[in-house]
Amino acid sequence: MIRDFLRSRAFGLVVPLIAVAFGLIAGAVIMLLSGNNPIDGYSGLIGGIFGDMYYFGETLRAMTPLILSGLAFAFAFRTGLLNIGVEGQVIVGWFAAVIAGISWDAPGIIHLPTALMAGALAGALWAFVPGILKAKLHVHEVIVSIMMNYIALHVVNSLIRGVFLDTGQRTAFVPDSASLSSEWLQGVTDFSRLHWGFLIALAAAVVMWFLLWKTKKGFEFRAVGFNQNASLYAGMNVSGNITSSMSISGAFAGLAGAVSGLGTYGYIEIFNTFTNLGFDGIAVALLGNSSSIGIVLSAFLFGGLSEGSGNMQAAAGVAPELVEIIIALIIFFVASSYLIRWIYKRLDSIRKGEK
């Protein structure tokens, strides 16, 4: 009985929920220890997520690129690759999409898709490098993708600075024909920056699920991820699969950048540091167990917590870093689901013993 439950899908949901609860309790303890009122803190936080349509819209807006960068990491992860380079792929994707947006004119029906494609392609290209090196020369993809992050940052900054600078630190705005922003979505959410990219991100989650679990290619990606030799034996093109799954991962990352550029901002600016969208994507993916649904949910949690933290500070004077602590602890508890299972089993056997 317990064994069945512990293995069941339902339990798969219970673990993250308990983990979130643990994380929040730990956060409350930290607030108490540091002399803050946890109830005020959390009501500020929740107010900052659900308080009104504006905040809710902003939360959805914040989670949009996180879904995509989470998918990017998860896709590679599912195929046996560690794509630490999501960050760099986000940056080049952002850049390419905005440049495709500002450098020519076309009707929206062509312009917007091209700009999005440009972003995805740039991300894919950036990920192709560690992919091909891994496939052909067995170079560890982790280092190459870390290096590619820095290269992306410097190259993109220098191109903006040298070629595309408009005012201040940014390029010109993309025209409406290449913009994802939606007056309607802004209208219903009381002027939040929610944009069509949100739907693209949700669609991408479906795409990833479909690709991995419904297509022939997905079968091969997963097989190669688990066992290259057996995949070779079964006639799969191993190095081709490594390269393409890395590139697909990069395309998701590039889209994450593209929706930020075409949706939230409308431009790209010189980055003083990394955007962190990519690094947060790693955490989102891991928290979501690298599954599409899990990623959407954990991106919501991430987006919500970080949006809400502003209000938490304003309303209760709690430093926004608390949210990072809570996120880290939630990840910790999810990863340690063994602990939760163990506690559950213990409780169960105590209950039985009493009967």
Binding site: Y54, Y55, E58, A62, H154, N157, S158, R161, T167, G168, Q169, R170, F173, F191, S192, R193, S260, T264, Y265, G266, Y267, E269, I270, N272, T273, T275, N276, S306, E307, S309, G310, N311, Q313, A314, P320
Partner: protein
């Protein structure tokens, strides 16, 4: 609902006698408070409210304002990344804040958007000018600029007066028009004193890499520069590290700080302080003034206030222990020349070239 027509920048900015205003408004204030507290709040950029730079300075302005007018309410919201600017500005606007300051030119576009969405609210942007789609100023936004080039010119003068090797340096954070103003002003100042002084300059392309700052400083000092000015945020801390290190090793080198009187917090070594002087940008004063004007119903919406040498919006730091009297005299002299228009300090590369050609 203050409606201000665009007025002449200087005319308005000239009206900056803070103390005077403060006294004048004591009476006024009681009425305002009765209607509901006047609130002035700010959104920091990603540096945070305690960045020992302009965010901190702006917050100081607001806290002083609050001390002077205790019935008012002041507060800030911190931004963790640039995607936070808009929600944070929006949040303050929604709370009905009487004036919301955006600190840093990175907030330019966000403040425009939020201001357009909340036409009843007042905003002010530090370090840039908000223009709408037709390049016209936005009615409910006041723009606060500083003449960094003028202040940097004076530090350039100090550097030129102090250099023993006739070689000085400049370290920039990320290359951008704003940081260019610092550099061009500095170079103009140095070469105005002595055309033959060599100036090395380099961008770290990062505001947050003290290690690189140190290495750049190392290579400048190693190539005989003895005074280095920085406009590079945390990267500049590496400059101080290197300067202290060389000082301890007996070398006579100097560093010049930026934005605040950095000698107060940085640069100490066993036998003094390596910071020769700093280029101070009085964000506090600017914020204070704009808040006060707004409270008095004189919100300078749609206007651009440039705080320059004349209004003491920029200048060299109060800590002057290391500066020679000679240099101070020169500073005074050139300051007067700038004020009376004899010297027009260049802001851009092109202007600098022209300026140097005319020497």
């Amino acid at each position: 609902g203050e409606n201000n027509e665009t007025t002449d920048v200087n005319e308005n900015a000239g009206n900056n006698n803070a103390e005077n205003n403060a006294e004048n408004n004591e009476n006024n204030d009681g009425e305002e408070a009765a209607e509901g507290d006047f609130s002035a709040k700010m959104v920091t950029d990603t540096g945070g409210v305690d960045d020992r730079s302009f965010n901190e300075s702006a917050w100081e302005g607001l806290t002083t304002f609050n001390e002077d007018y205790p019935e008012t309410e002041v507060d800030y919201i911190q931004s963790d990344d640039s995607a936070d600017y808009q929600p944070n500005l929006n949040q303050l606007a929604r709370e009905g804040t009487d004036i919301t300051f955006g600190i840093g030119f990175l907030m330019l576009d966000d403040i425009r958007t939020v201001a357009e969405q909340n036409p009843e609210q007042n905003f002010a942007l530090v370090d840039d000018e908000v223009l709408d789609g037709d390049d016209e100023p936005v009615d409910n936004v006041a723009n606060i600029l500083f003449a960094e080039h003028e202040g940097s010119f004076l530090t350039g003068v100090v550097a030129a007066m102090h250099t023993e090797t006739d070689h000085v340096g400049f370290i920039g954070g990320v290359e951008s028009p704003l940081i260019e103003k610092f550099r061009n002003g500095f170079e103009a100042g140095v070469n105005y004193v002595d055309e033959d002084i060599e100036i090395s300059s380099q961008y770290a392309q990062d505001f947050n890499d003290p290690n690189q700052g140190q290495q750049i400083a190392d290579s400048f000092y190693g190539n005989d520069a003895d005074i280095i000015y920085h406009a590079a945020g945390d990267t500049g801390n590496g400059l101080f590290t290197e300067a202290i290190d060389r000082r301890e090793g007996g070398e006579e080198v100097w560093a010049i700080g930026v934005d605040q009187d950095q000698a107060l917090t940085e640069g100490e070594y066993s036998d003094g302080n390596v910071i020769l002087t700093s280029m101070v940008k009085r964000v506090d004063q600017a914020v204070y003034e704009v808040a006060e004007m707004t409270m008095n119903g004189e919100f300078p919406g749609g206007e651009t206030l440039e705080f320059d040498l004349e209004d003491q919006g920029v200048g060299i730091a109060e800590t002057q222990d290391n500066v020679s009297d000679e240099a101070l005299e020169a500073v005074e002299e050139y300051e007067a020349e700038i004020l009376n228009g004899e010297i027009e300090v260049p802001q851009t590369e092109d202007e600098l070239e022209e300026f140097l050609a005319d020497l």
